[in-house]
Symmetry: C2
Subunit: 130 residues, 2 copies
């Protein structure tokens, strides 16, 4: 626990984590079906299985092997991971300028009034010193 855990899921692993984060503990079959519903390219069942097994090895996921159908669950926190990946992304793509990125995101995205209000509220909160 003292050693810093470097979270660096691969693309496939991240896709699988998204399913686990969204749906909770799941079987390989469920994850594979979900991925195939969404994505364009068909992913083979054993491919998903293999990656999930690797994720268990890496402790990105934990699995319950009591039943024949193993149940996998995310073993990394969603917000934590997002925060970590966000930092990396900002560094590598926006040379560390989170603000530049936020401006891009706001400019590109068609934000709703409600969303904009939320952001304004957050800004107010920050300005008041958290």
């Amino acid at each position: 626990m003292t050693a810093k855990n470097i979270i660096k899921p691969t693309e496939s692993e991240l896709e699988i984590l998204q399913v686990l984060w969204e749906h909770g503990p799941s079987s390989v079959r469920f994850v594979n079906d979900t991925l195939n519903e969404k994505g364009t390219k068909e992913i083979g069942y054993t491919t998903t299985l293999k990656i999930m097994q690797i994720m268990a090895e890496k402790n990105l996921a934990k699995r319950n092997t009591d039943k024949r159908t193993h149940i996998y669950d995310a073993n990394v926190n969603e917000s934590h991971t997002q925060k970590h990946l966000l930092k990396n992304f900002v560094d590598s793509t926006f040379r560390g300028s989170a603000m530049k990125m936020v401006m891009q995101a706001l400019g590109n995205h068609n934000a709703s009034e409600k969303e904009l209000d939320e952001i304004k509220a957050l800004i107010t909160k920050i300005e008041k010193g958290e």
Copy 2:
């Protein structure tokens, strides 16, 4: 030119693009030195050379071979590329929710008053319908 160009630079390529975007047309030597000043791990000269040659092949960069020392320049637009990568990132990491990501970014980042003002101005602009 009609076909859509899929921009998917690798990590190394992106690091090099950052140097080219920031400093403009550069030699391999300069790029390699710059990368090595910043980063922790030493990158071999021929490694950088190779990747930049590949980037020229992929048309991520163009190069001038008039002189013995070739000069490379980015051949993809910075904002365009950032926008593209941002979309991918939001999709894969925040399940498409740009707002969720913006909130994370604002929450994590110690934004200055000036930066917050900029964002507020942008929001006002968006609310007035661009």
